[in-house]
Symmetry: C2
């Protein structure tokens, strides 16, 4: 009998897991929009890019239509973990639940909503979602996964899950400890997304330029170095160097996910990225002034949309009154 797997959240990453795993398992997709579920059920899910095929799966917005599953993979935005997992967490009470999300703190939310075995995951694969039913597979890099420590998940569950992902045609590595991989990506993501969100720049060559005093690469370097020091204070030996990841990414001119959120006035993942680094530093008595500053700036930016949408005051993309008052002591 085929294993039952539920993908929770079908953005780019969720779609890649769903389509591939549907080749070797019975795949369900739990999504938010009825039109999304309907399109997936009608048309299937097409993968382009590195792989080319169309998968059949069962999508729904209704938890009551989902069976008990062997495995769930949570692929929602970190900010939507609670609402995505709360209605379905019980379906994995006798199975496993893997977070393939950004940042720190998602596994804790999964553990609150399921008695299943929780897996800590970090994926380095990438894709572009062209529509509800078409996803392009871009970087075919691995998902790293390990046990979520407090849930005493046995390693056999980790390796079985990795084997299943590999059997589906994707890359996965089972680890005794997935935190070094998670922190490498965390530091990279917090630094690059934070700078991108605040400057409006995609991940572009300026992120690695360090020749002059004002160059942005110097800030990235400082942010990444600070992140490494926090990781060290927390007791993590990094899996790979986030600065090297930044140098490679800076060549892509990729619009970052947090820039996308900022431009659309969506709540960002900053609490799970830079905010998590800032709080971890606080927790262990380390210093993270730069990540803390960027975290507060991005929270301020989110607050500016709320002011703007409340019609409270000029901010964001709203034009401000056509007056000039330079030299004003109230700035």
């Amino acid at each position: 009998m085929a294993k039952k797997i539920c993908i929770i959240g079908c953005g780019a990453i969720g779609s890649l897991y769903a389509a591939h795993l549907a080749q070797v398992a019975e795949v369900y997709a739990f999504v938010r929009r009825p039109a999304h579920a309907h399109a997936l059920n009608e048309q299937g899910l097409r993968v382009t890019g590195k792989h080319n095929f169309t998968a059949r799966l069962r999508a729904t917005t209704d938890p009551a239509e989902l069976p008990e599953c062997h495995l769930g993979i949570v692929c929602s935005k970190a900010t939507q973990t609670e609402e995505a997992v709360a209605p379905v967490g019980h379906l994995f009470n006798r199975g496993a639940l893997l977070s393939a999300q950004n940042g720190l703190g998602c596994e804790e939310i999964l553990a609150r909503h399921s008695q299943g075995q929780i897996l800590r995951g970090t994926t380095f694969m990438s894709g572009t979602r062209h529509s509800d039913t078409v996803v392009q597979y871009e970087l075919d890099t691995a998902t790293w996964l390990g046990p979520f420590e407090p849930s005493s998940t046995p390693f056999s569950t980790v390796s079985d899950t990795a084997d299943l992902i590999v059997a589906a045609g994707l890359k996965a590595v089972a680890l005794e400890d997935a935190r070094p991989a998670q922190w490498s990506k965390l530091i990279f993501n917090a630094s690059v997304n934070g700078v991108s969100a605040l400057t409006g720049l995609p991940h572009c060559p300026a992120f690695a330029e360090e020749a002059r005093f004002g160059d942005l690469g110097r800030l990235l370097h400082d942010l990444i170095e600070e992140g490494k020091q926090v990781a060290k204070a927390v007791g993590i030996t990094l899996h790979e160097d986030p600065w090297e990841m930044n140098k490679i990414g800076a060549e892509t001119n990729h619009p970052t996910s947090m820039l996308y959120d900022v431009q659309h006035h969506y709540e960002t993942e900053v609490e799970f990225l830079g905010g998590a680094i800032a709080r971890e530093a606080e927790r262990v008595g380390a210093s993270a002034p730069l990540h803390t500053a960027l975290y507060r700036l991005i929270k301020g930016k989110e607050a500016s949309w709320r002011r703007s949408e409340a019609g409270d005051s000029p901010s964001g993309s709203t034009a401000i009154p056509k007056v000039t008052s330079a030299h004003d002591p109230s700035a």
Copy 2:
């Protein structure tokens, strides 16, 4: 014979000087736009708010139409100092030239373009410019002025200039050393404008809130504290506490000048504000990680407009391609 005074740049502050000084002197205004000069010559310059009167003055965009003057007051944006002063600096070779601009570094530019006596000024008055010919006088606080140290300006020139400004109905204080006042406003301006430009928030109550870890007031506090440490390292004892200035200003919900620049994609004054603090710290071997970080972010933001205008890539207010690629290792 009435003294001849030329106001260089007639924004809100320049207009306030021009109109008031025209009551006690022969005032010329050197402006950039022919329509601006024409309107001032035709209609005069009306002051509303704290004072109410209309002044007559002579405005021009042509340096050849300006006489040799006793005094020049430079009121352009700091970023436009060079272009504003270069064509007219020689007219003050036997007089005095006062910078009433934001930040650090304008006096040095004045000294390169005039052999006159250079005055270091910081104004705390404020106004709102309603049109080319109407300016509202708001905060009637003083202009603080002193000698620009390298130009060996005698104190008598400082006090004569302050007397003239006071005779015109504005407030002014002559100081042996104007740097403590200039640095107080510099630290305030760099901190408040920087945070405002990056968050999109006007100077609002959040700038003074410090209760929770993510609160923006904590960042403002840290920025101001860092600025004070740099001032101390440079040898400056501040004139007033920028944190107190911030608390008062935070009640105003005033859109800051740098936010205005950011929203209109104008070059900001960051080189003369946070950039100046960062460079001064570097010069004296002090540490200014937060001002340096904000400086680099704002330079990055300026770079994003150039990309955007060159059609190079998505950024700023330009919509980015409708794709989602969260979890992407290139962020």
